[in-house]
Amino acid sequence: MIRVEGLTKRYGRLRALDGMTFAVPRGAVFGFIGQNGAGKTTTLRILATLLLPDGGAAEIGGYDVVRHRREVRQIIGYMPDFFGVYDDLRVGEYLEFYAGTMGIRGAAARRLRDDLLELVGLADKRDAFVDSLSRGMQQRLCLARALIHDPQVLLLDEPASGLDPVARVEMRELLRELGRMGKTVVISSHILRELADLCTHVGIVRAGRVVRAGPVEAILAEAQTATYVVRVLRDPERAGALLEGCPGVTGVLVEEDRVEFGFTGDPGGAAAVLAHLVRDGLPVVHFSRQAGDLEDLFLQISREEVAP
């Protein structure tokens, strides 16, 4: 659905994009991960036809984002990382305005407005002024705006930034719903936990280039080393010592009842490690792989790229 090849963009002497290449299949929820300044926003702005690349090519749905701006705009919904709202409009008027800019008017626009407000959970706010909404509501309103022309592709730049945890969960539910609706979604974020269970595909960006991309499982399989946490009722030192002896285990760290270690190998190997601990009579009450799987990978990649 989206194909990006060798995209370059310079801002003065700064090389924002340096041969950015990736592809997003139809219907995928693509997590675009990278630190601030890695080139995520620049890439999304080029895809949204707001910025012309210096070199390379990008196309969405078969349309080149430079040569076929108009067609691309018809099939994308874009939500920038920072955006403003017209504070002198009501929520309903706001959506009707954007419907108008997409050439939708009259009864169709009003029906669309109500449907979208329903979808993003703002139906009861239709007559409220936009600036009376909370940040999370404005974010959802902006998402509704991006959906107004029923685009096949959504480009969302940090859709959950600046939101409190509750609003963040609501936003995530909404994004999941969009994925179920069969839309191709590109979500950029520097917070990995946010994307880990939402995406079907990820691309990890560093210094204007995608360093890893593919289906989440494939990427995770690549992540050889994961961090595990074990809690025991007693004898954490003995557990630590035992772990040191296991194959694939590195960097054992004992803190009170909590033992943390790095493990390289498949999940079967991890199970073997656990079995080994239990066999030795240790009262294991907790054995888990750390939540931020992608985060580990991300940190790992960051380190390995910095090292040479």
Binding site: R45, A48, T49, L50, L52, V66, R67, H68, R69, R70, R73, Q74, I76, Y78, P80, F82, F83, G84, V85, Y86, D88, L89, E93, E96, F97, Y98, A99, G100, T101, M102, G103, R105, C142, R145, H149
Partner: protein, 370 residues
Amino acid sequence: MRGLKVWWEDLLSGVRPMLAKELRARSRGVRPAALLTLYLLAVAGGISGVLWVVTRFFGALSVQVGLWLFTALVVGSTLLLAVITPALTTGAIAGERERKTLDLLLVTRASPLGIALGKLLSSVVYVLYLLLATIPAYALVYLFGGVPVSYVVTAVLLAATSAVAFAAVGLFFSALFRRTQVATLVSYLVVLFVLFGLPIVGEVQRSLAQERDPFGTRPQGGPLPWYLSASPLVALDSAFQGPEGEGLPLLGDLLRAMLGIGPMSGGAVTVQAVPGGMPATTVYTYGPVSVISGFSGSRGSGVLPLRQTYVTLTPGGELRVVTALAPWVQHLLISLGTAGVAVAGAAWRLGGSGNLRAWLRRRPRVPAGP
């Protein structure tokens, strides 16, 4: 053909919602009512002031009172609109940029030209609304009489078109500069220059021409340089000539002092009939600019004649009749032209340049001819 239809639809996708939104937003709150009130108060204050001055210093009401009042109204509302109008548009695009709403607008179907036009139209509608509110005040002029309806119609037309031009200039700078403050500053400098700077430029140019031609080998008089008509004040003054060639009171005297227009010889001269054109007339010559037809085409209604006839004095002492577009027509054309260029420039800055580049890249490259 299909391309034209798409272009038109994209234009409307910008103009229609933008106009609706801006008008809706502008009509909210106390600001519009306050602005209208202030505007009308200023107009009322001006009228009262003129009447007070006239009665105080000229004793009884003279026959000129109608014309005095008319001048005050026309010049006053033109100046007021010149002050108000740029303020309505300088925030139009820079404000969207500052509030970070511009990107959201640019990814829609609305074309940059549609967006710019929608912004311009919304402020023009607002300005026309102010102008409309002053029209009843012109009724006062008729209490004293002495001013044909054509004057009023032409004056309102002039004020409206110069307001449109000023609005478009504000819009252009709003698109050009990132910040509203800069756009506002530059717009007001330009407005000030057009209003008051242009007459000075005209004066400089005139005296330079005189310097270069000390023996008077070129014909004297004739129409003013066309670009001076860009200033609504010059256009207003030279549009309204009394039966004796004098312009508007006060303003006319001021501009005449600046441009060196003034009675030279004075006196009636008979001009031969021009075949198929002017009938034989007796005219009053003033130099360098003399106007014959101030009244001839206006029969108390409609607008002033589109062309004006001037008498110039050749070095041989002959009088020659020259016709040219009337200054107010020139002003109309200049204003609308400026507005068109400014809106196109704003659209270009908004993303039209990228659109054009995209369109050019889209054309298959045709190899150069043999």
